[in-house]
Structure formats: C-alpha cells, structure tokens
Subunit: 293 residues, 2 copies
C-alpha cells in the first residue's frame, strides 16, 4: 500500500491592515479551489493568514490587539473556508488552530529605534510543545514561523514519528537588530527546514505570507522539502500562489530506518544540557521569567 | 580587540592499508608547512588520519584490530608532527585526541551482504559528550564524522558558547543500507554542518579523508563554514589539499546575540523528549543495551 499525499504550499501575498477577513478568506478559497483542481489532499497556508502581521505595531489599546485574534474557529467570516473544504474534500492548515507556537521571536517592550516592531513576545505566550496527529494516512506535525529555526522543533516531532511538518511563516527581509543577515534571509529559511527534514526523515512544507505588507518586505520561498532535504517544489512569486508536490510518505523510511534510526543511533546521555534551563533569569519567588502580556 | 583565527582545512586523500604511519605523517607535515606558509594558526585533519578506515573490514584477530589504534600520543611515528607544530608555531586537530566520538554509525556484527563493512559500533564505544576548550582566543569544540549529522552535537557545544567546531570525517559515497542516498552524500555533508553553524552562531570546519581508499570511494567537500551558515572556503580535489579561511570569531556574536540568543529565545520546557531514552532496548537487568566490543 502506497501512501501519497498531494500537497499545496498555499502562499499568500501581503494582507493590508484594512483588508477584511472576508476578503482574505476569498483569496484563501481561490487557492483552495486551485489546489483541489490540481488533485491536492491538503493545502498549507501561512502564519497569520487572516490579518496583517500585527506584531509589527505597538498597541496599548487591548481592544485593538484583540481585533487581530480569532474568537472562534470557524467564525462568521471564516466559515466559508471550512464549508468549501468540506464540500470539495480537502484538508487545510491555517496556522491558527490547535498548535501554539513555542519559539516567539522579537521583543516584549516597545523599541522605537526599530524601523518596525516585532512584538511577538508581548502579544503571545509560548506554546507547551510539539505534538503530532495521525491524518492523511501519515503522522502530521505543525510548527509556526520562528519554530522552524530551532532543531529541537523537528527532533521532538521526529521522535514521535512525524512524516510531514507544516510550517507557516511571516518573515521580514530586514532584521533590525542584525541587518547584516538581511541578504541571507531566504537562504536561512531554506537551510533550517532542509536540515530539519533530512535529520528527521520527514517532509517539511514551509509557507510564507510574502511581499511588501504595510511597507515591510517579507521573504517568499514557500516550498515543499523531501525527507532527503531536497526542495522538491517551490513558489516563484511573492504573491498568492500554490506550489505542488506529490509526497510519498513511505520515503521517510529510507532515512528513519538507516542514518536516522533513532533507537539505534541516538545518544541521549550526551544531550542533557539541551533541557537545562541554564542562564534563565529567575523572579524573586524563584520561578523563571516568562514573557507574557 | 579583534579575534581572528586563520584556519586550514587539511584534507587528505586516501591512506592505503599498507601505508606506514611514518609515510602518512610526512603527508600531514607537508600540509602543516603549507598551512603555516599561508599564515594559519591552526590546521584541522580528518578522522582516522593516520591509517586506512579500518571499520570497513571485519577482523576477528584482536592484535590486528589493535594495530589501528594509537597506544600513545605522540608515539614514535607521530612525534615528528608534534615537534614540527611546536617548531613553527601552529595548532592541529587530528581527530584522535581527547574527544571521543559520540554517534557511532554503522553496525556491530559482520554483515557479509554489504560491499564493505562499517563496523564502528563493533570497534568503538560511544564517547561521553561534547565539551569545549578555550584556545586560540576563542571557544573551540570537536566532533567526529557521524556526530555532524546530529543537531544535538552542535547545540550542546553551542550552549557552552562554542565559536569553532572542528570535525574530521571519512564518509563513503556509497551507503549500503540506503544506496538511494549516494547521489546526495556531499549535499547532506554540507547541509548538516551549515545548519549546525547557523543555528548556534559558530564556525564549523569539516575535513575529509577523501577519494578511493582500498576500493571504496569517499566524499571530499572539506570546508570552512561561517556562523551565517555560508561555506566560505572549500577544497576542490579529493586528494591532499588545504582550504584556507581567516575567521573573525566575533562574527559569532551577530547570531548568538540576536536570533539565537539562547537565554532569551530557547524553550527547554518543550524539549524533554530529546533526552528520554524512548525506544531503547533494555537488558534483563534493566540497563540499556549499549554497543560495545
């Protein structure tokens, strides 16, 4: 029995701050129909697919912040997407569902010196961890954006047998604290996902919200990566676009049973430091400082 | 104060089984003199630089096995290398010193179906872990061969502030249990080292024993990788050759203080599974099965 999943990386161009969820959902539905027409079983959308990337702004008004969060899924403006998916028979990843992003990049306080803010540590709390789900005949995992830069993300899912990791991201080309990385942002994006795929014998699907959104340029580079670490499909624009790949989940075994046969080759006795909370600042009562709003 | 280390990746071509240590040491000394003439502070040699890669053969005679190990360092045949290094003032990594390889690839029992053996699990015991050493004005780390495919190797050293990881390897192009990986062996070699460098903000120096040794072809691809993940210098042959790079150790900070500021961004609460010995086979007395001779 073969286990093929035909997947669409459903890249979005920018979402303006004034754009309604209804308008964005219409764009998502257009990509979904395209994916289905190309025989896809599943479409992966970017992180923060429904709104502009709001952590780039400093807000003090909680009601304004709340306006960027979903109160229910599906809600009145998103229901059409769920209905269409059910009607035509396709799965989708929206980057807002059960999975909670673990690695929050950026900062928690307003830093006016930056050209734009990256206040994820202000507006979000870190998630608990990385789970996997059996679906589409395989073991599926989810991560969001900055999680993809951390090898632990893939490893924790790899140890649970993950065969396809879906990752949505919004990544500015410009990194204010390290502008010397700007030219490499697309290279870094692919490097970390390719290594994560190979080192865990899993497909990785990385999907961007790309292009110039509210004056800030974001990388594209949405792609599907095989368990070999090879990019097997990718978007070529920075707008709404799907990239297609027919993924044989059994390819994962070629790596999981050889070079990365964890039961045979891992040496956890040497990894202890990875889970120590070395260097963590403690509060007066001894609990570690956690970034929260 | 700047902290430059000029480094040579001291790649070796094959070492025949009949080649004496004295003959190999003469080759190593030639590379060392070349490195010094090019202003190097340090030269990195491959894994098993002094002999043929003997785990490719199945031996039953312990004396024959022992003939491939060093009884003392320096010994009568290797002393010249140490003396030359002291005389001209250069450091070197030989892949046989204090560091003990943690991740042993291959197998422990004779598998005659293979074109050649890879009996590292038979002839070696896994090392205890990954330490670092202050030297050359920076924080230096060592790993060997298959260790480089495991993200934990770099992370454990990264958590100790490593700024340059030196890795010697002997990697056959052909992987008997997974020949479908053969075409990708050079790509995988670079992918894992580039990701390890970027994700920990460290230089990585990877050095091969390359070419056709006793009928088995090995990858070359010796290189120096910057903390950006970029390959900044590499060998172009599969023979004795040095690749040079002038490494500014302060470049590491560009990554260690931003994207990979571990104190600010790591989430060890989500990593627990990485140190669990899940799936490990236990012996009757409850101790985990360890591969040893």
């Amino acid at each position: 029995m073969t286990r093929f999943v035909t997947i669409a990386a459903g890249q979005l161009g920018p979402v303006a701050r004034t754009e309604t969820r209804t308008a964005v959902v219409a764009r998502l539905m257009a990509l979904m129909r395209q994916a289905k027409a190309n025989g896809c079983d599943l479409i992966v959308y970017p992180e923060l697919a429904l709104t502009a990337f709001f952590p780039r702004w400093y807000f003090e008004d909680q009601a304004e912040i709340d306006s960027f969060f979903e109160r229910e899924m599906p809600g009145p403006e998103t229901r059409g997407l769920f209905d269409l998916a059910r009607e035509i028979g396709i799965g989708f990843y929206l980057g807002v569902a059960r999975y909670r992003k673990v690695h929050l990049p950026g900062h928690a306080e307003h830093e006016p010196w930056r050209e734009f803010q990256h206040l994820e540590k202000r507006y979000f709390d870190p998630g608990d961890g990385f789970g996997v789900t059996e679906a589409f005949g395989g073991v599926m995992g989810m991560a969001i954006c900055n999680d993809r830069r951390w090898s632990e993300t893939y490893r924790v899912m790899g140890l649970q047998g993950v065969e396809m990791v879906m990752i949505g991201y919004n990544t500015p080309v410009h990194n204010p604290p390290a502008p010397e990385h700007d030219d490499l942002s697309l290279f870094h994006n692919h490097l970390v996902m390719q290594a994560g795929a190979y080192q865990n014998g899993t497909f990785v699907v990385g999907v961007a919200k790309a292009g110039v959104e509210e004056g800030v340029d974001h990388i594209g580079g949405s792609c599907v990566i095989a368990p070999s670490g090879e990019i097997i499909s990718r978007c070529t624009t920075k707008g709404d676009e799907i990239a297609l790949a027919r993924c044989d989940l059994d390819l994962c075994n070629s790596y999981k049973r050889t070079t990365f046969n964890f039961d045979v080759h891992r040496q956890p006795h040497a990894y202890g430091m990875i889970v120590e909370r070395k260097g963590v600042t403690l509060m007066a009562d001894g609990t570690p400082v956690r970034t929260k709003r």
